[in-house]
Symmetry: C2
Subunit: 328 residues, 2 copies
């Protein structure tokens, strides 16, 4: 394949297993609401046996972003590791059905395809317990230099830092992208993830990432400030563009010399916030690769985030291209 | 296990693979809108490769009904065949998480767990292409006489008639139920299914089924009448209770000497009609086994059907017991 790509992403290839749960379910099991924690196969089996009936939808943070970009009409690729099993086939089907280039070889033996057990509480918050499975096996061998060079932006999820070979894959891809004069983009993923990898993320953000995505909690965790404004001051100038999302308060786009405020797009009813940040990043990166001004990138992003939180699951149900055309 | 059961069902153990599709998608492939057709493994693979991104939810007509009864607080059991694979584990998890007794042994080798590719068109209608897989292997050996005797009602889906061993399982279970002084119930499933098995269904309904479920198209197909009233006249007296659903026009409950009209329960927006009939049957059978009057059984049924068509997928997302308490 030789077509140019707007965005290629490296991330965890996961299938989400979504269920509704009461707060007590999380409290009894000492699971922190709103967090993403890694669990092993036995823990996943055990927790699944205690979960209510669920719905399965392809997920994975960066994969959700890529699905969003494809739904917007962007050309996109994904690098991530599934196993040669039914969940892997589901993941592969769902992303390629959107026209995404997904050529990473599945694992033939060993761990099964990873899954993320998602508990949606009555306040529409999501709490995630992830069994990485094959997803955690992504490594430098999965990085095809020619593919990276074809993309305007190479996008990474911070969750990759939880697995050393995945981090090495990031390092390899980022080097290829920058040497080819292309951009890199990173999402901090989760404030707990930031706590786990703060020193490395700080070093990365300071000059090695062109477009940074974070939410309010993540950017505060990164700079260990006690308020949002101080965190915005801290990040300004560290990367070309920092996009900080604030749920219903919208988002702030921070560049070395300007600050652009983005309003949240209205939603009738917030059903499930799973994927809100992922789809915000999708809209923003799509706008950016189409050469749109920052304010418009932010607006597209807000429309995409609004779509995803209006239903259960982190993959778009609506045609995002049509939705943006209607609301922009 | 020795607890009494309100309802035990025998049906196809399937996982639904749901996607949105335009009418043209069906027309181009000569798939009749609103129908359920059986396809083989190769056809399923081929059609799946052409489908858009999908969501996986446990399904199967009678299994959906049983899930509904359990969500209403009824005690329920299910007999159906999954394989020892990931989709089978999902099916088993989802039904047992509701407290349903599901002890049918999974197939260790051979066909994978069955799946139903569901295309939801913009009018919220569903069209189904089913690869039965292991589901089609249910047989008399899967019928446990003691379990059937514990249930007030043994419920069957008409789709079983598409596989001879499944039909034999029905015959065995119905005989056990009736000899134990218990009731049997059948849904005609689908008008295309009625066309395939009309002679047998006619014989069954005439004296061998206590509670019959059908929709308008199915009952008209069964009696080959040209209007609804004639079909109602034809079925009256053939079984204790015939429940005929008519979508937004509600339903009619027909007994040898009375006719009870049931209004449809209001829905803000119909998203996906998959499972409407299954959940109507759930509400009705739950009411009946709790000794409620027919009009109340119908009202519970209408509330359950309204819940299922307000979202994608044929398994309840809300707690039906709470919903019925609120609206009854």
């Amino acid at each position: 394949m030789t077509k140019p790509l707007d965005v290629i992403a490296i991330g965890n290839a996961l299938v989400d297993v979504l269920t509704h749960a009461q707060d007590d379910f999380l409290i009894e099991r000492k699971i922190e609401k709103g967090s993403m924690s890694l669990i092993d196969a036995d823990q996943a089996e055990n927790l699944y046996s205690q979960m209510g009936p669920a719905v399965e939808v392809s997920g994975g943070s960066a994969a959700n972003t890529i699905a969003g970009i494809a739904s917007l009409g962007g050309s996109a690729g994904f690098i991530g590791k599934v196993a040669d099993d039914q969940l892997g086939a589901i993941f592969k089907h769902d992303i390629t059905a959107l026209g995404v280039e997904f050529t990473t070889k599945p694992m033939r033996e060993g761990k099964p395809t990873g899954r993320c057990l998602v508990f949606v509480t009555p306040d529409a918050q999501r709490t995630m317990q992830t069994f990485l499975g094959s997803a955690g096996e992504v490594s430098p061998a999965d990085i095809d230099a020619e593919q990276i060079k074809r993309a305007k932006i190479t996008y990474f999820e911070g969750y990759l830092w939880d697995q050393p070979p995945a981090k090495e894959a990031y390092v390899k891809a980022a080097k290829i992208a920058h040497e080819a004069g292309k951009k890199t983009s990173l999402t901090l993923s989760d404030s707990f993830c930031v706590h786990r990898h703060r020193a490395e993320f700080l070093e990365l953000v300071d000059g090695h990432v062109d477009v940074l995505f974070a939410n309010e909690q993540e950017i505060i965790a990164l700079y260990e400030t006690d308020n949002f404004d101080a965190a915005v001051q801290a990040v300004r100038g560290k990367c070309d563009i920092a996009v900080i999302t604030r749920s219903e308060k919208g988002a702030v786009i921070v560049t070395p010399d300007e600050t652009v405020e983005v309003a949240a797009h209205p939603v009738d009813k917030v059903e499930d916030t799973t994927g809100a940040g992922d789809l915000f990043a999708a809209g923003f990166l799509y706008g950016l690769t189409q050469g749109k001004p920052l304010a418009e990138c932010g607006k597209i992003a807000a429309i995409c985030a609004a779509e995803i939180i209006s239903h259960v699951g982190a993959r778009p149900e609506a045609d995002l291209q049509a939705l943006v055309a209607k609301h922009l």
